[in-house]
Point group: C2
Chain length 423, copies 2
């Protein structure tokens, strides 16, 4: 890229950042009535514009095919009528949720009479960097608008026509409902250098939420001067304790692995207590086999079932596929140690009827979401009753697990006095 | 540095990181009884070791003098009996505070019967990078221990003997109370490259809290792969509204500027409404003059008082000294716009008896702490009733304002089921 182009790109990103900051200044005090009206108007316009959206999407699909994208990638890229309806319903759902902005989290009166409150406020400007699926444009922008945040969106180049069309509907709908024009801005260039420039806008953007592959997220961690809330991967475990109801354990393990293997909350490693290995493994392995799921077991697993041998790499693998690693352990403590060492702190479950084992597991497993007797596949904003999610955090700062409206806010100290000074 | 040295340093930091992670695994479920006993034992040993601490501190002071450190720097470095007593009392205060770990923030029962709770948990491992003042070693380590976090401390090279002595007392006291040996680790080398290695320990350290000058913090933002909670600077404002009680305004402004000019919550710019400029400025300027405070005013300020002319740089300056910038504005909105553009989002106050002006100011000023009719000098953990603070955040993610026990935790989802699977 020529020096002049680099300078022009930097100027463009600076302009976008400034506009976002200004928009966030008015969004901060905008009433829920206006924000909800904007969301409903945008939903209406998305439905009305389905033919246009599909026409723009067709350009992306054609370019993708020409570039040789595979089936799953093309599928993620496609905007069907059902997916457009899904975006509209998503916005209506978000409009119906309570507005977290302005909630008082706490208030104390200090001995000197100062009334110190903590009040929930928008983060400010949220930068979202994502790949392929164009519906993220509407989902993320809707959550940001409702929580009073301006957003700067950077979608994948393969979805640029679809994203631009969705963003235009968003802006037109927001403006017609008297929300600020720059509440939602999509970076129009597909130049890869734009991401680098975006990550340096620490004066204007308050948080970066990346959604995408590990490589993208690693790059963002490396380059960003802006705080990042991200999930790196989902290496989720289910531990079948010696006190488990084995029928329940089978049902939960099959669901956690097979219901949707391609998502981050799917189980990747099943841990089985040695005391129930013989009673459990052959039966569940047969069921996995019937479903076409490849099994890779540790040495002790292979004493009970025939399967490939798991290597060290399998314990940290996020297959996102019909492959399952299996480990046999001697104790609850060994299971906990394995999960804390090799897992990704996303979602982990124990199946047991032992009260003390369940409490110990919940305490000691250091993950964003820990379960007793349920499938890890439940970890998402919809299932948790949050209405939607902008991502799932596996870091510990700010928020863990699904990131939705409340997680797009933080607490500001508001202090009312009557002339107090400090000695 | 030779390649072999660099590799040895990296190994050493990796070892420290691993030890901290392991310690945090046991601290996570450690009872308040044990943590409080450790804090009280450490306080006792600090008092008992005052002669030793002063002896070690004398080495740092001598080295500092030899290096030509100035008075204020030497003063910050010195461990007096009062400061040692202050560290001990600080630990006793923290021991007496409620333990945030295990608090249930919320619990819902979903239609499918899943009980979804959010429970407060330690962040894990906290890395603290700080300069000169050795008492930070005890303050920060005490807050981390109480909140169930392991910590890795990196103090300034000028305080290395003092820091090592305090850390040793900390570790000995903790171990004697059956807390883990590696709950608190001080990096023993003064090699500058150790900071770089520390900032790459993203597998082991969950958050970096820097305390120090702007240059240090900028470097950390640039290099860290670990999330950072920091305050860059404290450019705090007091806005004297046309509806202010001018006697109260004078008292608050003098306190905010002069009570302790060297701290981040001191006022750096005073904003005065044009409607009260003539009634207020000459009187308050005389009082500032008597106190030896230099004034730098905008053009309109200089219509009312004699003072130096403020330049654009003065609006963003953190003087930390007896210098005050003054700006006259036409309206509340102009004051808000100035604060949001030039301030550092730390602490800002309005003095007014107008209800609508106070509400608008509290809503619209985008700072960690906003005040009506009180001095910004109140912004700190002690004054807010938090017992202590590990730093003051001016970023919006995770926490804003004083960072104490609660801010050293985050919320983990704990989900109890009875065999639920998801369709």
């Amino acid at each position: 890229m020529a020096v002049a182009d680099a300078a022009a790109l930097r100027d463009e990103l600076q302009r976008i950042g400034k506009q976002a900051r200004r928009a966030s200044d008015s969004l901060r005090s905008m009433s829920s009535t206006v924000k909800n009206a904007a969301l409903l108007e945008i939903a209406r316009r998305l439905r009305e514009s389905a033919p246009l959206l599909k026409k723009e999407n067709a350009k992306d699909l054609a370019a993708g095919q020409a570039k040789g994208l595979r089936g799953a990638m093309l599928d993620r890229l496609e905007l069907t009528d059902a997916r457009i309806e899904g975006m509209a319903v998503g916005l209506e759902t978000v409009a119906a949720l309570p507005d977290p902005v302005g909630e008082i989290e706490s208030q104390v009166v200090r001995p000197n009479g100062l009334r110190i409150a903590q009040i929930r406020q928008p983060l400010g400007v949220v930068g979202i960097i994502y790949e392929s699926r164009p519906n993220v444009t509407a989902d993320a922008a809707g959550l940001c608008l409702k929580s009073g945040n301006a957003c700067v969106l950077r979608g994948g180049s393969e979805a640029i026509h679809s994203n631009l069309a969705i963003a235009k509907i968003f802006v037109d709908g927001a403006v017609s409902a008297e929300a600020p024009e720059h509440a939602v801005q999509l970076i129009g260039t597909t130049d890869r250098a734009a991401v680098g420039e975006m990550l340096r806008l620490d004066r204007y953007i308050d948080v970066i939420v990346p959604r995408g592959g590990k490589q993208l997220i690693e790059r963002i961690y490396d380059e960003s001067r802006i705080p990042v809330v991200a999930h790196l991967d989902g290496v989720c475990h289910t531990y079948v304790h010696e006190g488990a109801d084995l029928a329940m354990a089978k049902s939960i393990c099959l669901n956690a692995k097979l219901q949707r293997p391609s998502v981050c909350n799917a189980m990747e490693t099943m841990i089985v207590d040695a005391a129930v290995a013989e009673a459990f493994l052959p039966d569940v392995a047969a069921a996995f086999g019937e479903a076409g799921c490849e099994l890779r077991g540790c040495e002790r697993t292979r004493e009970h079932i025939e399967c490939a041998e798991a290597t060290e790499d399998d314990w940290t693998a996020e297959y996102l596929d019909t492959i399952l690693a299996i480990k046999v352990v001697d104790s609850l403590e060994d299971a906990i140690a394995h999960i804390n060492e090799f897992g990704s702190h996303h979602s982990d479950a124990i199946v047991t009827d032992s009260y003390s084992a369940s409490e110990r597991f919940l305490d000691a497993v250091d993950s964003a979401t820990v379960y007793v007797n349920a499938s890890t596949y439940f970890t998402d904003g919809f299932m948790f009753g949050l209405g939607a999610e902008i991502g799932i955090s596996t870091s510990k700062l700010h928020c863990r697990g699904p990131m939705a409206l409340k997680e797009l806010t933080s607490l500001k100290y508001v202090i009312r006095g009557s002339g107090q000074i400090r000695q």
